[in-house]
Symmetry: C2
Subunit: 320 residues, 2 copies
């Protein structure tokens, strides 16, 4: 084990882009370490320059391949790219993603790319809070574009994808229940729709389905006057990627030029506030006396009191 480095010192090292410092700060955010809070607050105040792209889609939609290809494309344009994967099935272990076409390990070796998987289970202070902190850290450390990949199922996971500047929803042909799932909440969060695996013969049906849904529900876009594009692509042939990069640039330029962008920033801020408050609340409970914790859970468990009364007690105690 390396000696413990105070978080304040890690901030200065992360400012120069030092990978190890970035990793340790993210781990401390994930572990909800009280010692790191001042450092994370400072990082927040000094961040805010990156373009955050949220990518979401159901398992099997080809998100991870898209993230790897998109990262490679953005690198070639000179962007430093940070990738945060909030997906238990993400294959970011250095192995091959697309046979020998793109090796994640090539990206891993590139100092202009930082890839991090977030633990989806056991994040002490909550997954969303840890992910939002990781975005700040990469932003602060000088990454121009930050891609956050989340699986498109799970309330917090979808919220995280939504809390970005450009949200991409990925669909793929041949996944029966998928369109259903999209209808149930993913459709309206997309700034850009992607249909992956467009080398498959049944991809056209998926493209048509999504375009049809967009026509039916004209009010889906979160920015008025932004016409949500549907981009078909194939990570195998490379088709569609130039168009996707272009649409991302367009959306970025469009969003920064219009008033509604402020509304989006406000909704991101409000989500952030909520997740931080939840984290602080749970932390105070965890650090309260063992006796208090035992008493309050026992009373709930034995149904001597109800969840609302006890939650109120918890909120009151939090200020002691």
């Amino acid at each position: 084990m390396s000696p413990y480095v105070p978080s304040g010192e890690l901030v200065e090292r992360a400012a120069t882009g030092e990978t190890a410092a970035i990793g340790r700060l993210i781990s401390r955010a994930e572990a909800n370490m009280a010692e790191a809070r001042g450092a994370l607050a400072e990082i927040y105040l000094r961040a805010g320059r990156s373009h955050v792209i949220g990518i979401t889609g159901v398992p099997g939609s080809g998100k991870s391949t898209l993230v790897a290809s998109l990262t490679a494309k953005l690198r070639r344009k000179g962007s430093k790219v940070g990738v945060i994967a909030v997906d238990p099935s993400s294959p970011y272990s250095g192995g091959a993603i697309l046979g020998d076409r793109i090796r994640m390990s090539d990206l891993v070796m590139d100092p202009g790319v930082y890839i991090r998987s977030m633990a989806t289970h056991g994040s002490v202070g909550g997954l969303a809070h840890a992910t939002l902190s990781a975005i700040d850290i990469l932003d602060f450390a000088g990454f121009d574009t930050i891609i956050v990949e989340t699986v498109g199922v799970g309330q917090d996971e979808v919220e995280i994808a939504k809390a970005s500047h450009t949200t991409i929803v990925v669909s793929a042909p041949g996944l029966g229940d998928e369109i259903q799932a999209i209808k149930a909440g993913m459709l309206e969060i997309a700034d850009i729709h992607v249909v992956s695996k467009c080398d498959r013969s049944d991809a056209n049906k998926t493209l048509v389905d999504i375009k049809q849904m967009l026509t039916l529900d004209a009010a889906t876009s979160r920015l008025p006057a932004w016409r949500t594009p549907v981009v078909g692509l194939s990570s195998y042939t490379g088709d569609g990627y130039p168009e996707l990069v272009e649409e991302i640039e367009k959306h970025r330029a469009f969003a920064s030029g219009v008033k509604p962008s402020a509304a989006r920033e406000a909704s991101i801020a409000s989500f952030r506030l909520q997740k931080t408050a939840e984290t602080l609340l749970m932390d105070r409970f965890a650090t309260s006396s063992a006796r208090f914790r035992k008493s309050i859970t026992e009373r709930l468990q034995k149904r001597e009191s109800d969840p609302y009364s006890l939650a109120n007690e918890l909120l009151t105690l939090s200020l002691g």
Copy 2:
């Protein structure tokens, strides 16, 4: 629209098993209505008899078919069964699930069965809180067994499945990333593993894989001395269902007889408390003055202050 019925009156109607009253109470929990809180608190105090079964698995694992078949089996044994589906792709719309073998509509017509889908997006007070309240309501209304189906991705979704007396994790052959996903957090929450679609020739590999993982990680079971079974079943042939029902009964009997059950109840209570506190906290923010809300999100958005300081302000205000 029917006239507004006070929640207190709905409680008395739900106590007699009146379906409409049950549905309205669940909707009010979902909408986080302040008027319903006293009623929900009372219901909590008077509930606590049902056996809650959490069923989780990745999309495509055959959860919904399993839930339908299991419900039919439990009905034949005389149990009143409540089903809560927290899954955007759940097909509980009255259509056929297994061709003409089981029609969900047959179950829907059965007064001893209550089926409810929870909105996974836009639950005002949070999905977990609404789902836990729905469990109380069905418990209070006299359902012996409550099945909660959640998709096995998403932090809250997995937590909900875990917050039950018996947790079943469903796997299926032919889903590449699935085993990965299970490894990442679902493995250790299972009291019973089910491999569905065992009429397929590749099902045996999945069975062997899971048994192997269980052997490698001997400490997975949440109850010491409970040997987590792996049940293979086919909803098409009906094979495995008698064994599954038996294992559920065994686990129920086992869990109620041992001390660690109290630890489990305590962890369920603690999760409940956390979700209720979060709901109350967000509610207080939402009902605070527009000026306060605007000021706090603007300061965060403009990075004049950091998330921790502002979240602390929010927690303090909550008591005002």
